[in-house]
């Protein structure tokens, strides 16, 4: 029988995350983000966080709340086009933004999670993404060497968990979540439902329980 996890409140989970920590947060334009945990980070007045996420969503949604509340000092993302606040804070020099091609971003997160030393990709070659990076030639073809991206915490949204921590996702709310669950030093999952152990068939599990450190209690 696997170890079970007692679920915790969003506030308790937020208290585990110190100012200045790096956090990866699942979600794509606000879809599939751990929203109650994000609200708790805002309520706790966190500052100096480094955010790793696909995007900064649009004002009022998902991780955009962290931008608006000025919880972030840096954002490593692929897209900020739907959030004028991000652009404004970046232009004012208040928020450092590192733009990474989306496929490179997810692959670098995966690389950190699965113990690879780098990602070797053609994406970004001959563009500003290449600046300051190694290249590698394999069989006469040049590639960019991108470094793994890890974080102190991975904050994951899931459709359903069991009390061991096995996670299922739904449709496009899946996105970066299962990959980030591999690459956070501490993984905190916010499922919509938590069911008893044994209720999720082994073939339906997308993130195995062992990767998850904390479960957020379900909303009332």
């Amino acid at each position: 029988m696997p170890a079970m996890k007692r679920s915790i409140t969003p506030a308790k989970a937020a208290s585990l995350i110190p100012d200045g920590a790096s956090i990866m947060v699942g979600g794509f334009m606000g879809v599939g983000s751990p929203n109650r945990l994000i609200d708790a980070l805002v309520a706790a007045g966190k500052t100096g966080l480094t955010l790793i996420a696909n995007d900064t969503a649009m004002p009022g949604k998902g991780v955009a709340k962290l931008v608006t509340a000025r919880c972030l000092s840096k954002a490593i993302v692929s897209h900020i086009g739907l959030n004028p606040e991000t652009q404004a804070q970046m232009n004012a020099g208040e928020l450092e933004v590192e733009l990474v091609p989306q496929g490179t971003l997810v692959e670098c997160i995966r690389a950190a999670g699965v113990g690879l030393g780098a990602v070797v990709t053609p994406t970004g070659l001959g563009t500003p993404v290449q600046e300051g990076k190694q290249t590698l030639e394999v069989d006469g073809v040049s590639y960019l060497v991108e470094k793994p991206i890890r974080a102190d915490f991975a904050l994951i949204a899931a459709r359903q968990s069991d009390y061991a921590g096995n996670l299922e996702y739904a449709l496009t709310a899946q996105n970066f979540n299962p990959i980030m669950a591999l690459a956070g030093g501490t993984v905190i999952a916010e499922p919509e439902h938590i069911v008893p152990v044994g209720m999720i068939p082994p073939d339906a599990v997308r993130t195995p329980a062992s990767l998850v450190d904390h479960l957020i209690e379900r909303a009332l």
Partner: protein, 219 residues
């Protein structure tokens, strides 16, 4: 027919039956409207669905089923939900038969720039660099000019999206194919001619010996 519909209709003719196609947000997304339902085409949305369907009727949305712009969508029978690693694995691994991307500029070699205007606008590249580098066929769908300034230029003033030239450029005026020797004009719109296209284009181009009039019929 407005310019965008015209461009979308022409691009739709490039969509082959039984293929997997990724459409960028904005103008490119209109292409889906002109692809026959019986063509067996799957549309991929890079946020994680293969088999993207139409916008749902109001009151029938699922907040967990959206397109890359965050808008509500549906999924067709036979759809698959995938995570971002699989989604970009398909894109970067050459499993997307065709992508249609918007453009800010394209250079004389056919290289696209569409993700930032230094000092003005930095939306970010999102998945565009991966699509432009990894899809089997890359089609740029854009208006020919922006405020009378040509978007097809000798050399891009803004950063490139990929060092790989695109396969086809479709505007409301013309269809160009980039080749190792430069751009070749394949088609002109019914309401324009080569001279007008030259005047509205910032890069040199050859005219194909098989130059023809752009068909605006959807396939």
């Amino acid at each position: 027919m407005d310019l965008k519909e015209r461009i979308a209709r022409r691009v739709a003719q490039e969509v082959q039956p039984a293929t997997l196609v990724n459409l960028g947000i904005g103008l490119p997304s209109l292409v889906a409207n002109y692809v026959p339902a019986n063509a067996g085409v799957f549309f991929q949305s890079e946020n994680g669905v293969i088999g993207l369907g139409a916008r749902p009727p109001e009151g029938m949305e699922d907040p967990d089923l959206t397109d890359a712009g965050g808008g509500f969508v549906t999924a067709v029978p036979g759809a698959a939900a995938i995570d971002s690693a699989m989604s970009f694995g398909l894109i970067r691994g050459g499993h997307i038969d065709m992508t249609v991307l918007g453009g800010l500029e394209v250079d004389a070699q056919g290289r696209l720039a569409n993700w930032m205007i230094p000092g003005k606008l930095t939306p970010g590249m999102g998945g565009a660099m991966d699509l432009a580098t990894g899809a089997k066929k890359v089609v740029v769908a854009m208006t020919h000019c922006i405020k009378d300034r040509p978007k097809i230029v000798e050399s891009c003033a803004i950063p490139l999206t990929s060092a790989r030239p695109v396969d086809l450029i479709v505007t409301e005026m013309a269809v160009f194919q980039p080749t190792p020797d430069g751009l070749v004009l394949l088609e002109h719109a019914p309401d324009t001619d080569v001279a007008a296209i030259r005047a509205a284009t910032g890069a040199a181009f050859e005219v194909s010996s098989g130059l023809k009039e752009m068909s605006l019929d959807a396939p």
